[in-house]
């Protein structure tokens, strides 16, 4: 219902087909009208996703999906907005925009399709690639550690921080639904390994993930524990190392969204003008 007739140019068996299905199913479950939702993306394999949906969308320039989304949210707060991007688009070139939108708590859902590399430009290291990663610009191994996007998101005051993976579409769809439901900045990191560049990755193994909510009864209102689980998320950042935590790490429903602040200012203006005329 939410996908269009075009054949995606993703490789056969690409993890991203799973993301597209989960997003489509989630939108279906939320009963959203396709012509009343915006999906914004930047550049990269991940960012091509909107092209193969039938909603409104803008496949824009590298790293700038989030500020484009902000304009849409302020101008038309009646239109829900989803941002999709890769680990490069969102956390390399786009990382500055991520922080500002997050701390202002814009009501957006950001899906990072994390394959821990720059896939479209044929395998360079990305911020979420582990130390030692062999990419075409780092043939002797990436010097720096991976960015822990979960910890980063929690420090950036994101009010809904979650992680899932394409190996469990039921879990992924459920997390996306909860992210869409959340009124505020929702960030969902989706581990989606690249079949072309890392065909033997252990991240394809479903047993290498553990569910922090269902298996470990983590309560997402516990920020300290959320950070603890988040730190675990990077310990296993080597492509071939197992055990990645998934689930909802942190959720804060008490923070006002930016759009609510804007609406409040407009309401005050309306009250003022009514008082003048009365």
């Amino acid at each position: 219902m939410f996908t269009n007739k075009l054949k995606p140019t993703w490789c056969k068996g690409c993890s991203y087909f799973g993301v597209r299905k989960a997003l489509s199913d989630a939108l279906q479950e939320m009963n959203i009208t396709p012509t009343a939702v915006n999906i914004f993306s930047g550049i990269g394999c991940s960012s091509r996703l909107p092209l193969w949906m039938n909603t409104f969308g803008l496949h824009g320039v590298h790293g700038r999906a989030i500020p484009i989304a902000i304009g849409s949210r302020i101008a038309r707060s009646d239109i829900p907005v989803i941002v999709v991007g890769g680990d490069g688009d969102l956390f390399s070139i786009g990382i500055g925009h991520f922080v500002h939108a997050a701390r202002k708590n814009f009501n957006l859902t950001v899906l990072c399709m994390d394959n821990r590399c720059f896939a479209m430009t044929k395998n360079q290291a990305s911020p979420t690639s582990p130390k030692g990663y062999i990419g075409t610009y780092t043939p002797y191994g990436k010097l720096s550690e991976a960015l822990n996007v979960i910890e980063f998101a929690i420090s950036s005051e994101v009010t809904f921080v979650a992680q899932s993976h394409v190996g469990n579409l039921k879990h992924l769809t459920d997390i996306v639904v909860q992210g869409l439901h959340h009124e505020g900045f929702s960030f969902i990191n989706i581990i989606a390994p690249c079949r072309l560049h890392h065909p033997k990755s252990d991240l394809f193994e479903k047993n290498n993930y553990y569910d922090i909510n269902n298996e470990y009864s983590h309560d997402p209102s516990d920020k300290k524990l959320a950070v603890k689980y988040a730190l675990n998320s990077i310990k296993h950042s080597r492509i071939d190392e197992p055990s990645v935590p998934v689930g909802i790490f942190w959720r804060n429903t008490m923070k006002e969204t930016f759009e609510q602040g804007v609406a409040e200012l407009h309401n005050r203006e309306i009250k003022k003008s009514l008082q003048k005329t009365s």
Binding site: M53, H59, I68
Partner: protein, 410 residues
């Protein structure tokens, strides 16, 4: 939520009998934006454009609009694009350094054919330059700044009145032609307080984008399409807006076909390139109010002593200089274009045909408008350049012109 499309003018209370107001350059832009129906403004503070956002932020809430202070110029323009994509008239304002940052996104709006207004209040460059000094050196950046080739319209103000009028015009043009419009102002105009004459405030013409609304129904087939970029005769194809249109599309920065699907075939690429550019074919012809021509009465070759073309704040100086020279007995044709690009070629050639001497004084190093004319015509203007960071004075320009004329006649 802001009000998309169909904005009704109910701008600041100006008493009916008063149709002159005192404004500075930046205030005039802010007032022009509100009058034009701008509902979303986003900017990053930068000298000398900061006050545009300041003035707007005080009044825009009354019109259910919003001023968003972005984290940088890239985010400012990006959010204006997102707001415009979602149906709302949007603007950003910056100076030279910000314009440089925005180039990639200006190219994006060209490619996806979304209206947006970008104000550049010029200052001395390059780089940080002299933030509080005057220059008109961003013409090249405005016209040629982005990589690749996409349609843009460049306007330029000569005074505070222009700032008000041309901001409205910028919105009208960007809505009509669905492309970015850059309005070049400068620090001299920002710091000038002048009377702005507004006759018939309520009758100012506004143009809104053509939208396909929900009267055009999607097919029962879930794969319904609408040719958002259909190759119409004018090149202008109607917009689809989320929550208003019954059919959706995904704008894409890659080359696309009429349905906005990626298509890199040579045939499609050539077609879309031509479609985007032919939108501007009739612009110069249809908007002759954008170049102020002051032909001498004499139209035969040789009867005019010289011609002069000037843009930006310099035009205001040139007008005084021309008055002085006419008083001395010189016969002069002058042109003060507000439309910098596309070039008003015919008018320029007409002026140049009257005389062999065409002066173009500019406060920049290259003589940017002069170079633009050389690109498109065989005219060889005489450049008078000043790049010390201050405007010409009428006396200075007068002396320069007299000297040149003496040398020419030797």
């Amino acid at each position: 939520m802001l009000n998309p499309a169909n904005f009704k003018i109910s701008a600041p209370k100006i008493k009916k009998e008063r149709n002159n107001i005192l404004l500075d350059g930046n205030e005039a832009i802010a007032l022009g934006a509100i009058t034009a129906g701008c509902q979303y403004f986003s900017a990053y503070p930068i000298t000398p454009a900061t006050q545009i956002g300041e003035y707007l932020s005080k009044i825009i809430l009354k019109y259910m609009g919003y001023v968003y202070q972005a984290e940088d110029e890239i985010a400012a323009l990006a959010s204006a694009i997102g707001a415009s994509f979602s149906g709302v008239k949007s603007m950003t304002a910056t100076s030279g350094p910000g314009l440089s940052l925005m180039q990639e996104l200006i190219g994006l709006t060209s490619m996806i054919e979304i209206p947006v207004v970008i104000v550049d209040v010029q200052r001395v460059g390059p780089s940080t330059g002299m933030p509080t000094k005057y220059e008109q050196s961003d013409l090249f950046a405005a016209v040629f700044g982005g990589h690749g080739e996409g349609p843009r319209i460049i306007l330029s103000s000569t005074n505070v009145q222009d700032n008000f009028k041309l901001t409205i015009k910028a919105f009208n043009l960007s809505e009509q032609y669905q492309c970015p419009v850059i309005l070049l102002s400068d620090i001299a105009i920002s710091n000038t307080v002048q009377t702005v004459h507004i006759k018939n405030f309520e009758q100012i013409e506004l143009i809104n984008r053509k939208i396909v609304d929900n009267t055009v129904m999607a097919n029962d087939d879930i794969y319904s399409e609408y040719a958002r970029y259909q190759n119409t005769e004018s090149g202008i194809s109607s917009l689809l807006v989320p929550g208003i249109s019954s059919i959706a599309y995904r704008a894409t920065s890659v080359e696309h076909d009429e349905n906005s699907y990626p298509d890199h075939s040579p045939e499609n690429r050539s077609l879309q390139m031509e479609k985007r550019f032919k939108k501007l074919d009739n612009l110069v012809k249809d908007h002759s109010d954008l170049y102020e021509v002051d032909f001498s009465d004499i139209t035969d070759y040789g009867e005019v002593d010289f011609a002069i073309i000037s843009w930006g704040f310099t035009a205001s100086v040139v007008k005084e200089t021309v008055n002085k020279l006419r008083f001395d007995g010189y016969k002069i044709s002058s042109l003060y274009p507000r439309l910098i690009y596309p070039l008003c070629q015919e008018v320029i050639e007409k002026i140049a045909l009257q005389t062999g001497i065409l002066f173009i004084p500019e406060t920049n190093f290259f003589g940017q408008y002069s170079r633009l004319i050389r690109m498109y015509t065989t005219i060889k203007p005489i450049q008078i350049n000043n790049y010390g960071g201050e405007p010409f004075s009428p006396q200075e320009l007068y002396n320069e012109i007299i000297n040149h004329l003496k040398n020419v006649h030797k």
